[in-house]
Subunit: 340 residues, 2 copies
Amino acid sequence: MVQKIKLSTIAESLGLSTATISLALRDSPLVAIDTREKIKDQARALGYIYNRRAASLRTSRSGIIGVVVHDIMNPFYGEILKAIESELDRSRHTFILSNHYDSVEKQRTFIETLLQLGGDGVIMSPAIGTPIEDVKLAEANGMPAILVARSMDGVDLPTYRGDDSYGISLATNHLIGLGHRTIAMIGGTDQTSTGRDRYQGYVNALRKANIEVDPNLRIPGPRSKQGGFEAAVHFLSLPQKPTAAVCWNDLVAIGLMNGIARAGLVPGQDISVTGYDDLEEASIATPALTTVWNGQTEVGRLAARALLDRLSGSHDPDGIHLIKPEMRIRQSTSPHHPRA
Amino acid sequence: MVQKIKLSTIAESLGLSTATISLALRDSPLVAIDTREKIKDQARALGYIYNRRAASLRTSRSGIIGVVVHDIMNPFYGEILKAIESELDRSRHTFILSNHYDSVEKQRTFIETLLQLGGDGVIMSPAIGTPIEDVKLAEANGMPAILVARSMDGVDLPTYRGDDSYGISLATNHLIGLGHRTIAMIGGTDQTSTGRDRYQGYVNALRKANIEVDPNLRIPGPRSKQGGFEAAVHFLSLPQKPTAAVCWNDLVAIGLMNGIARAGLVPGQDISVTGYDDLEEASIATPALTTVWNGQTEVGRLAARALLDRLSGSHDPDGIHLIKPEMRIRQSTSPHHPRA
DNA sequence: GTCATTGTGACAAACGATTGCCTACCGGAA
DNA sequence: TTCCGGTAGGCAATCGTTTGTCACAATGAC
């Protein structure tokens, strides 16, 4: 770096004032059109780099939006992020990403960092156990927050997520319709709203079909492929001999299918398995996974839009916006037939 | 936001000057220890939020580090990012992430944004076709750059990546050792150094074993599960009837295995398949994938360290640092036996 | 009693862009 | 000639921290 080019550098080289340069570069009609062009050419020629920190110090708008989710490597969040990214891209906002891995601590650190940077807003999928003060912290300092994928009790923020209870009942009903009666539920946790809703959806569907709900058919915990893979052993040794499994998400389902295959059974034939989310991967799994689309792209897109709208003044109605999930039937489920 | 708390707010409330507050909050020995404590307490009580933009305007250090790779949803990069994240975390740096999807355009926009924000440095896996000026742009404006996973010709930056040529020869030799003679190579592109190196490693290994290299056994292109899955059809219809496939990466390998299974063959038995990278997923695939560990965690860790070192003055030697890959033998490869 | 020395903390000038306010100038109407 | 409306562009204060330079007081040595 030989020397920083700043507005005054351009101004002097052209015999104008920095005010004019500033206005010209931002296409203000206060500067005559050809003066404007001349200024822009000169800026380009000198290799001028706009200093956002200086600008945002004055304007208190930084163009930075924070996004924090459980784990960006999880494709479910990945698909949400992609949707957010493409929505934010077209509005010249920069976004800062972070994982919280369900650590409240890490999440708070992120919010604080974002405040220090003067973030304009934040989109978050709150960590398990997030205290209300942490999101209040953002709002209290003028940084609007939007929730995705998970809701939080006791806080009235715009929230975008799938209708979990309805979605899981789609999957459960599908299996019931195929004749299955002993249906296990693999994965998930009661510590999130999502977890509670999904279990409830499963329970409701069974009840409605007059199938007794056996709490031992629930294997809570797994949320990843690895987890699903490991749960297969437990699943296959259940005394009730389930013929089907409703999984927490596609990753668990794929892991479970791998585990079932490893044990010498044929997933989709011997055991029916449903996923949840409909990740890109679901359709190329072996067998192709029957699952429930959870609207991740919609969630991301709407959340980003809502935040941008809010930044530009119009206050979107708070509250939870549920996306309707849709069933995707593939080869991992088949009619019930007694196990050999 | 009722009212912004700033240094002067604290200063007035305590009858001190902003200078003292500033020094105290950063634990300067220039301020007496109990004055310091009193100031910190007051800052906490008032809910003071450090304004990094103002600070960095003065100091021209922002604490921001940019990272741009092909696709953060790709687990290979994901594992690199995790390593970078954990290294950067302990040094109080914020990092900004972006995908370039191999668009030079998108990558340049990112670099420009980072410059505007006053980024302290950037770690990048350069997009295909990145012009030298783009990385020079960063360096010329005082923002050091480090390359990961891919190298760039004609530019002398610190680069951390696996030894592709050596790594792929491990996989190829493994298959040759099992008796395979007709070995296809699936995926990759000549447009990156990585692509060229891996193909070269494959060719060299075959030559050394006196196996004729048939360019038609190469199916370039695929880099994802989807791609591997789709390539299966082409692969299975090759007139040379390959008995094994060296894949570009684990994703392609897993996709290919799925495609092979879909066609009624048993991957790992009828066709031996090797992956590359040794993602977490490789060991739970069905069959468990024989692959080559590509040192992603090392790459990320070392690159982050190198950047931090450079930021703190010590200039790390430029040039390419190769990580030695290691073979991981699992069930997706088996001795050659004639196809039925 | 003087003179250093040390410890505290204040002053004020940056950093670079934005913007409300003001001036100068031009052409046209009365 | 005087006045008016309008356009182009300059001035200078401001955003919140940091930091080099100083000032002042207390201490201790001689």
